[in-house]
Subunit: 312 residues, 2 copies
Amino acid sequence: MRFHSPSIQYFHAVRRTGSIRAAARVLNVASSAVSRQILKLEQEVGSPLFERNARGLTLTTVGEMLARHVMNVLQDLDRFRSDVQSLSGTWHGTVSIACIESLTESVLPDLIASHRGRARRVSFTTEVKGSSDVLEALSRGEADIGIAMALRHPPDLRQAALKRFRLGAVVAREHPLARRKTVTLAQCFAFPVIHALPELSIYHLLQPLIAQLPETPEPAIQVNSIDLMRELAARGVGVAFQTQLGIGRLSREGQLVFLPLDNAGSPVWSDLGIYVRAERTLPAYTESFLQELVRELGERERRENAAYPHVA
Amino acid sequence: MRFHSPSIQYFHAVRRTGSIRAAARVLNVASSAVSRQILKLEQEVGSPLFERNARGLTLTTVGEMLARHVMNVLQDLDRFRSDVQSLSGTWHGTVSIACIESLTESVLPDLIASHRGRARRVSFTTEVKGSSDVLEALSRGEADIGIAMALRHPPDLRQAALKRFRLGAVVAREHPLARRKTVTLAQCFAFPVIHALPELSIYHLLQPLIAQLPETPEPAIQVNSIDLMRELAARGVGVAFQTQLGIGRLSREGQLVFLPLDNAGSPVWSDLGIYVRAERTLPAYTESFLQELVRELGERERRENAAYPHVA
DNA sequence: ATAGCTGCTGCCGAAACGGCATCAATATGT
DNA sequence: ACATATTGATGCCGTTTCGGCAGCAGCTAT
């Protein structure tokens, strides 16, 4: 089933590993074979594809162009393979997901479990990253589906869906704020606050709002793990900020209370985007999971926004 | 620059020609070489790609899937080539257009002439077909850009733009109807009418309206050429039907008069769609022309609908 | 029945591929 | 500063693959 010339497979491996010898190890061939294929390729294209640094290879501009083409080819080959297999009845493959941390508590495990229940032959690989890293992984062809904060995405990605969830304060059941319906940022800052570090995307959502506050609040606890943030809040250490997506189980068990943020009378939204490579047609099993993911997130968006109606 | 394995190039040629020996002639190789590559390919895929009829080869289902993949690969290779060339300053390639006849009088020649004036190295091939043939040519990878009546298009095509033009009656300057502002179908059928045959898309636009008329009009002249239709109308033979797009020159010279159709108080629209293959990223020069085409058609749409305001 | 087409298949020379050993250049560790 | 390790490139050589030639059988149209 590998009817494409070795050159492009070798090129692909070299681009990913950043070294000819490393690529050769992955491909189980001699490094000379890889070296030659790359040289031949450069001769065909008429331009160098890599810059030879002493420590390995990096793509030139033309190399990046070819990388895009090769990625398109190999990903479309995957789709073709899956099409053929689904024709012959078998239905297996691997769905590769890159997503931000707030999905790992409930959405993703629920979905993967239910999907695996129905299609045992479909396997998953998931990588948790920051929002911009998610988009980059997608661009580099290292993931099929990406879920990230809806930043401005590069043109080689397509936003398959956009769901917005209310951002809110998260406090322990016993916290003084816990009996309110909504809270303002100012009210939260009357208490110790658990801050997100800039590597978490909540930081970028809250920062402009915090900057508008009349007085800069005292430095509070800062963390870079949503899980840690959640557990700290559950222990009454302070007020954390999250969408309800990210606090599922502890919320269901009644330990945490979610209080929608009220910013001068209007809600604060956290936009979650689902992304795929724009130039790619997904394999059937991936497309199938993607649609489930979009449906599920839409369902949660509907439910949660109904539970906490807008402050008109 | 041909760094893809011979198999897929050979497969592509065989699919297009429908015969191994014919493909071999096109490729300038021995037919045995082609035959072997196809057999090897079928062994790799694990399923026959063609059905061997005594008179040549036709694709199997798996073959059609592979054909789609190969088309994606080769078209994306074209894009890559053009990307590299545009990086090195040179800018040439061929834009292949499939369109319906109503564009050939003014829109297309104007656009191509002006584009060639600016980019001498970009060449064009244009094929005039019926609307459904246009879409099929696009699907088969035989054209880059398609312009056709906006029918329901297959999922492998993407509608890059949709422009609507008013359908109208076209009569000679001296025709009794020529002094009206608008006409109804009934009014037209008081005179001899030049009908379009079913192979022209105007037929399918008018047929449902004609069917609603109280009495079936007498059989009139029937033609399958817009050019002929136009020239007949100019000679006063009867009333023809067209969008104004299709009668440019004769209208400018004052020989033909365009009368927007009035169907029970509302205009009759002819929807023109611009299509490209959905799974394809266009080369830079093609994309550039596509945008010009969309802009120009949008401009004409605006002008013409301003010249003949809606019958509110 | 003949002539012309189809795709397929031995045979063989030529080209491409891959493995091994080696080289020069550079980075790293002591 | 020196030794060591790692990088990509290259010459040599056996193996594999590719492609051309000629001929095969099967089918169709005349």
